[in-house]
Symmetry: C2
C-alpha cells in the first residue's frame, strides 16, 4: 500500500510533481517574464478604464463624452507620478516593499494592518474585475454567450487557480505569450486607428444598443465620478514593487526597469484608446465593450484582426488576475508569519506556492463574481478604495522613511514620495465621496472588521505562546499508565485492541457495560478464552446508558492515583468504502468528545481494517 493517500494522489495529479528547494532560484523572473506576470494587471485595465469614464459622461449627453480625453490625461499624469514614486520603493525595499511592509516599518502597526486589509481586498477584486472584464471582451465578440457569463467567469478562475497551485515559473511561461500578444495587438490597433484618422478614412462605428443619456446636469460631482472610474487604469501598478524578490538578480534593477516599461505601455494604450474612442465616436453599450467597438471601427468590421484584438483582450484580462494570484498568497504568508493571520497561510506547499492563500483568494473572488453576476461595472466601485488606500499609505510611509534615514538625495526622494502620497490621497478622497453609495461602503465597513480580526489573531497566538513557554515550567511527573479497553463483545477487533493495549502498560482492564444479563454471562465465558489475562470489569447500567457508567468509572480511576495517565483504547472500524461509515456506531467519536476536556486522559483508536 502506498504511503500516500487518495488525497495525496489527487493533489499530485492536479498540481504536478514537487520541486526540490535547491531548484527554487531557477524559478525567478527575468524582465521579460516579469513584465508578463506582474504587469498584466495595470496593462489590462486599459481594456475597461476608458469605458468606465464614458459610462458616466453619457449620463449627461453625447457631447459630454469629449471630456474623456482631458480626464485621461490627468490620470496618465497621476500614474506617472505614482510609478516614479514606486521606483524609489523598489530600491529602498529590495526584499519586497508592499504597502504592508512599508507602512509597518514607518507608520506603525495600525496603519500597516489597514494597508494589509486594503491590499487583500484589492487582490480579491483584481481577480473578480479582471475575469468579469475578460468575459465581457468575449461576449462582445459572441453576444450569444452573455447568459453564461457567470459560468464562463468561474471556469476561467478555476483554470487560473490550478495553474497557480502548480507553481510560479510555469506561471511565467504560460503568461508571457498572451501578455505580449495583447501589447502587440493593442499597439497595432492604436497605430492603424491613428493612421486612418490621419488619412481621413475614419467611419463612425455603428453603435449596438447604445446607452442613452438621462439628461443629468454636468456637475463637478459627475466629472469627479467619471475621473474616479477612470482611475481603474492605475490598478495594479504596485505589483512589480511587491514582487521584487521574484526577479532574477540584480532584483531591484530588473524590477525598476520592468516598472518603467510597464508605465510607458500603460499610458500609451490608455490615452490612445480614450482619444480614438472619441475620433471613432463610440457610445458605451450594455452589450459590447468600448474596445470591441473601437476594433470594429478601426478594422472595418468583425474580421480576423477584430477577433485577434478581442482574444488578446480576453486573455490578458483573465491572466491579469494572476497578478493577484502571485501577491495575495505572498502577503497572506507575511501576515501569518507576523501572526496576524492563521498560520495555515504560512505553509509553503510542495511547489513553493502558497496553496491556502490561492484557495482563499479563489473562494472570495468566486463569491463576488456570483453576487454581482459577473458584471464589471458593478464591481468597479468596490475596487478603488482598497487600491488607493494602499497607494496612499505606502507612499506616506516612504515619506517617513526618507526623513528618518536621510540617505543621499533624501530631500528629492521625500518630495517625490510626498507628491505620490498627496495625489493618491486626493484620489482616495474623491473615490470615497463619489463611490460610497455605489458599493464602496461595503469595503469601508470590511476594512475595520478585517483589522480587528488581524489583531484578535495576534492576541490569540500571543496567549498560546505564553501558555507554551518552557521558562519556569516543569512537567508533571507521571509514570503510570492505566489503560482501559471498553468492549461491546468479544471479536477480532476487540482482541486486537486488547493486544495493542497490553504493549502500553502492565495495568490494562477491559470494561463492559451490563445492559442485558444474558449477554453479560456470554461475555464472561468468552473472556476466559480470549481475555489473555486482562481483568474484565463489568459495570452496571441502571439507566441502560452505555456512556455514563464508563465516564464514571474513568472518574473513579482518575481519583485513585495522582501519578498516572488514563488511556482509553478503542477498536475502530475502518470501512473499505467511505459510505460504510453509515453502518457503524460513532461510539468512539462520542467517547473522544466526552473525554476531550479531561486532563491526563488520552483516547487511542486501534484501526481494524474491513476488507469489504
Amino acid at each position: 500500500m502506498p504511503a500516500e493517500g487518495l488525497f495525496g494522489q489527487i493533489k499530485r495529479f492536479v498540481v504536478g510533481e514537487p520541486i526540490p528547494s535547491h531548484l527554487a532560484h531557477h524559478e525567478r523572473l527575468s524582465r521579460f517574464t516579469g513584465l508578463a506576470v506582474l504587469s498584466s494587471d495595470p496593462l489590462s485595465s486599459v481594456a475597461y478604464a476608458t469605458e468606465e469614464i464614458l459610462r458616466v459622461l453619457i449620463l449627461v449627453n453625447i457631447s459630454a463624452l469629449s471630456l474623456a480625453s482631458p480626464i485621461a490625461f490627468i490620470i496618465a499624469t497621476i500614474l506617472a507620478i505614482v510609478v516614479f514614486s514606486y521606483r524609489q520603493t523598489i530600491y529602498a525595499y529590495p526584499s519586497g516593499g508592499g504597502a504592508y511592509i512599508v507602512a509597518r516599518e514607518n507608520l506603525g502597526e495600525m496603519a500597516s494592518l489597514v494597508a494589509a486589509s486594503a491590499l487583500l481586498i484589492d487582490y480579491i477584486l483584481t481577480v473578480a474585475v479582471s475575469i468579469a472584464a475578460g468575459v465581457a471582451a468575449m461576449t462582445s465578440a459572441f453576444p450569444q454567450w452573455i447568459p453564461q457569463r457567470v459560468g464562463l467567469a468561474l471556469s476561467f478562475m478555476v483554470v487560473l487557480m490550478l495553474g497557480n497551485l502548480r507553481g510560479i515559473r510555469e506561471s511565467g511561461r504560460i503568461f508571457a505569450a498572451p501578455t505580449y500578444f495583447f501589447i502587440v495587438s493593442l499597439l497595432v490597433l492604436i497605430a492603424v486607428g491613428v493612421w486612418r484618422a490621419l488619412t481621413g478614412t475614419v467611419q463612425p462605428v455603428p453603435p449596438v444598443d447604445p446607452m442613452t443619456s438621462i439628461g443629468q446636469p454636468l456637475t463637478l460631482f459627475l466629472v469627479l465620478r467619471a475621473f474616479s472610474n477612470g482611475c481603474t487604469a492605475m490598478t495594479g501598478v504596485e505589483a512589480v514593487s511587491n514582487g521584487v524578490p521574484a526577479f532574477r538578480p540584480p532584483e531591484a534593477r530588473n524590477a525598476a526597469a520592468t516598472m518603467s516599461i510597464m508605465a510607458v505601455l500603460a499610458i500609451t494604450m490608455f490615452v490612445g484608446i480614450t482619444m480614438l474612442s472619441q475620433i471613432y465616436r463610440i457610445i458605451p453599450s450594455e452589450h459590447e465593450t468600448v474596445v470591441s467597438q473601437l476594433a470594429r471601427g478601426v478594422f472595418g468590421g468583425r474580421d480576423l484582426p477584430y477577433y485577434l484584438v478581442q482574444a488578446a483582450t480576453m486573455l490578458i484580462l483573465v491572466l491579469a488576475a494572476n497578478t493577484a494570484y502571485a501577491d495575495f498568497p505572498r502577503l497572506a504568508s507575511i501576515l501569518a508569519r507576523d501572526r496576524y493571520l492563521p498560520r495555515q497561510f504560512m505553509n509553503q506547499g510542495d511547489r513553493l506556492a502558497f496553496s491556502n492563500g490561492i484557495l482563499g483568494l479563489s473562494a472570495f473572488a468566486a463569491l463576488l463574481l456570483v453576487i454581482f453576476g459577473g458584471d464589471t461595472h458593478a464591481l468597479i466601485p468596490l475596487y478603488m478604495i482598497g487600491v488607493f488606500l494602499s497607494f496612499t499609505l505606502s507612499q506616506a510611509g516612504m515619506v517617513v522613511h526618507w526623513r528618518r534615514f536621510r540617505g543621499p538625495g533624501w530631500r528629492t526622494s521625500t518630495v517625490i514620495s510626498g507628491a505620490g502620497a498627496l495625489v493618491t490621497g486626493i484620489v482616495l478622497l474623491v473615490v470615497a465621496v463619489t463611490k460610497a453609495h455605489e458599493g464602496a461602503w461595503i469595503i469601508m465597513l470590511l476594512i475595520p472588521i478585517q483589522v480587528a480580526f488581524f489583531r484578535m489573531t495576534k492576541q490569540h497566538y500571543n496567549a498560546v505562546a505564553s501558555q507554551l513557554t518552557l521558562t519556569d515550567w516543569h512537567p508533571e511527573e507521571r509514570h503510570h499508565n492505566t489503560v482501559i479497553v471498553p468492549i461491546s463483545g468479544v471479536q477480532r477487533a476487540v482482541v486486537q485492541a486488547l493486544e495493542y493495549a497490553r504493549t502500553l502498560s502492565t495495568d490494562v482492564r477491559a470494561v463492559y457495560i451490563d445492559v442485558d444479563p444474558v449477554a453479560t454471562e456470554q461475555i464472561r465465558s468468552d473472556w476466559d478464552k480470549w481475555g489473555r489475562g486482562v481483568p474484565l470489569v463489568v459495570l452496571a447500567s441502571p439507566y441502560r446508558s452505555l456512556m455514563e457508567p464508563l465516564l464514571e468509572y474513568i472518574e473513579r480511576l482518575d481519583a485513585q492515583r495522582s501519578d498516572d495517565y488514563v488511556t482509553v483504547v478503542l477498536p475502530e472500524f475502518v470501512p473499505a468504502k467511505w459510505w460504510h461509515h453509515l453502518f457503524h456506531n460513532q461510539r468512539a467519536l462520542l467517547i473522544k468528545g466526552a473525554l476531550l476536556f479531561k486532563p491526563h486522559t488520552i483516547v487511542t483508536s486501534v484501526p481494524f481494517h474491513l476488507a469489504h
Copy 2:
C-alpha cells in the same frame, strides 16, 4: 468538571431525566390509554376520509355526491373484515404482529422486506397527512392562517417529536385527553345532527368557495377513485396489533378489546359524518373542511360548539401522528436487530425511546410537508399504497400461518384471514390503478429501492461478522511498540506529549523535519535540556514537505521489525473556544488520515488544553 458534556446537558434539558430500566414495565398502556395512543390514527382519519370521497364525486356534479353513502358503507364493511382479521393476529403474535414479522415468518425474506418498506413509508405519511389535516381543521376555523400552514405543520411536528423523545408513558398521559375530547365531540356532533334531521330542523350549510363540477362523466374509474380516497378511513387500524407488548398484561386481551372499541367508533363516526354531509348538502371547498362545514351546519354557525369540534379535530389529527411515532422507531429497531437497517436504529436512548428512529421519521415527514406545501389532498395518493400493501401481506401471511400450524379452529381462521387478504388485495389493486398518476408512482419506485438497501445492509453486516469471527483465528504476536513523537518545536505541548510517550514504551524517538538549518540547530540545542534522554531523529526534506519524510520514516521503521506496532504520538491543541480551531494547523488530522489505512500503526493525540 462534569463528566457530561454540553450535548448531554442539552439532551437532558430537552428530553428529561433518564428512567432506570426496572421501571420500564410501569410505562405499559391500559385499554384506556392504549386507545388514546394507538387509535388516534384510525379515528382521526374520519376527519378527512369523507371529504376525499366528495372531492372526486363533485367533479361529475352535485347530485353525484349522493354516491358517497354507499361507498362509505362498502368501506365500513371492509374495515370490519380487516379488524376482525387483525384481532386474530393479536392472539397469534402476542409479542407484536406487525406486517413485517408476520410476513417474515410465513412468506419469506423478500415479502417481509416489502412489508417493512411499505410500513416505514406508511408511518412517515401518517405523520405528514395527519398534521396537514390537523392544520386544515385549524385554518378552516381561522382562514387568515392559511398562508402559514407549512410553518404551523412543522411546529406541531416538532412538539410531537420532543414529546416522543421524552418517552412513551408521558405520551399516554398527554394524548388521552385530546382523543377522548375528539370522540365525545364527534359523537355529540353526530347525535345533534341526526336529532335535527329527525325533527326536520336542518338548514343547508351556506358553502364557502365551493369546488365546482368540471362535468366529468360518471365512469366506473371515477367511482373507484372516490372509493380509493375513502379508504383513507382505514389507515392505521393495524397500529394496535403492532403495539401488543406495550399493553398491560394480559397484553393480547387488552389489545384485542382496544381494537374492537376502535373499530366500532371509527365506523360510527365515518358513516355518520358521510351521511350527515349529504343531509346538510355539503359541497367540498378549498378553504374549509367538510367536518368544519358540517359543524357549522349542525350547531348553526361559528359558536362555542363549532370551535370545540374544530379544536378536537385539530388536536386528534396532530396527535394521530403519534401512532407513527410509536411504531416507526419500534419497526426500525426490529429491522436493525435483523441487520436490515444500520445499527444506530437499535439504540435505546436513556428514556426507552428510540431516538434515531424518532428523528429519522420527523426528518422525512418534514420533507414531505415542505414539498407538498402541507396539502392533505396532495399527500393522500402517496399514502394508500403502503397502507394496503402491508395489510395484504400481513393477512396473506396469516393464511399461511393458520395452514401451517393447524391449531384449533384453523379453518375458520384461514377463511377470515383469507377474506381480509382478498379484500385488501383488491383495494391495493384499485388504489394502484387509480392513484399511480397522482403520485403513487413515487412510492412504487421507492419500495424496491428501500428493499435493495435493506439487503445491501444485511450483506455488509454479514461480511463484517465473517471478518470478526474468532473461529480459527489467532492474534498476531506483537510485543514491541516503537513510539515516535513528531515535533515542530520545543514547547510545553511537545514536552507533555513526550512525557506521555515515555510511559508507552522504552523505544521512543522524537522526529523533526529539517526545512531550515537555523531552526534545526535551535531544536538540537533545546533538546539537550528538554529531550529527557529521548533520541532526536532529524529528517531531511529536500522538497520542503513536512509529511512525506515522516511517512517514509514510518515506512522504514515498519520494515525493520515484524513484531512491533508503530505508535505516533502527537500533541494536539484543545482550544478554549471552538472557533480557535481556525488558528491551529490541522496537521494531526492530516497525519491520522495518511496513516489510517496502514496496518499496525496507531496514531494517538495527547490533548493540550489551552486556557484561553
